[in-house]
Amino acid sequence: MSLPADSPPAGAVPGHAVPSHMVPAQRPEPRTVGPLTQTDIVRFAGAGGDFNPLHHDPEFAAAAGFGRPIAMGQLSAGLLSGWLTDWCGVENLRVLEVRFASPVAVGDSITLSCETLTVSEGPTGRDVIELELVARSGATTVVTARATVWAPAATHAMPVAARADRSGATIPERDPRDKPADI
């Protein structure tokens, strides 16, 4: 088989002419997640199945040379991926490559941002966008990534409410039972 696909996936809306003012931005707006709690890390452990004690046991983390439990690299990768596909639609994701640069610890806030590298016309006339993404904790780069996506169609059929809240830089919804970790 050949990857990635040379044509938009089933269900994708093929590219067609739209008024220029309706063409969405060629990249997502930055998002900040956090401060990450121990609960956030435990939730990801349950979701993904990574139960390495480095991620939830303060004594184990200390013995490994960390002041606090550290998050899984795949949690940061998932934050980047989710943020990217909230913008473009997961059906338009063709390639995502993440590189892990530094650990993320409980209490860190992660800021996700990106630059558009290239926009080119794909074989079906629909734009293909190459992006360089970065996740930072303060001034420290924790994950860098490259992504190739089909340009989200102007008709990208996300409900209006979901579109409206995407302008917010932070994620408001949290389980009220979540509390900062006692570490």
Binding site: R43, G48, S81, G82, E97, F100, R166
Partner: protein
């Protein structure tokens, strides 16, 4: 130890489940309703909710990562994951059943930039759907510091 090039690392099967999609989406702060609302997915032309881009991480529940590291002759405390790459043929939809076949595609030793030898093992996983089509390919690069 000798190169492990070509070695089959593991093979696991799992269902792409609606509940697990929602759980993983929440855990990664993904907000697109197509992960949780069948109507939103239907508006985009899909029969059921769509998994997030890194959903196959959930195969961790089926895998024994420590046994894999041992079988590759790696020393777990010295191993870090350097990078992961996913290439998508189509999105994963609730109801998919996947078989993940993981093998070694590169096994190299080289001098680290900060001194010391590094062993770099690259694993590739083909995720096959019910029809045996590869819908997603994953590459993971494992780095062992201080390799002999």
């Amino acid at each position: 130890m000798g190169s492990t090039l070509g070695m089959l690392v593991d093979r696991v099967s799992f269902d792409v489940e609606r509940g697990k999609i929602a759980e993983f989406a929440r855990a990664t702060f993904a907000r697109d309703p197509a992960h949780t609302d069948r109507d939103a997915a239907a508006l985009r032309g899909f029969e059921d909710v769509l998994a997030t881009g890194t959903h196959v991480v959930v195969a961790g529940h089926q895998r024994d990562q420590q046994a894999v590291v041992r079988s590759l002759g790696l020393d777990l405390p010295r191993v870090v994951v350097g990078s992961t790459r996913w290439e998508y043929e189509r999105p994963l939809v609730a109801g998919d059943r996947l078989t993940a076949v993981r093998s070694v595609v590169a096994d190299e030793t080289k001098e680290g930039k900060r001194g010391g030898r590094l062993r770099i093992v690259t694993l590739e996983t083909d995720y096959l759907d019910r029809d045996g089509r590869c819908v997603l390919r994953q590459r993971e690069v494992l780095i062992e510091r201080g390799a002999a």
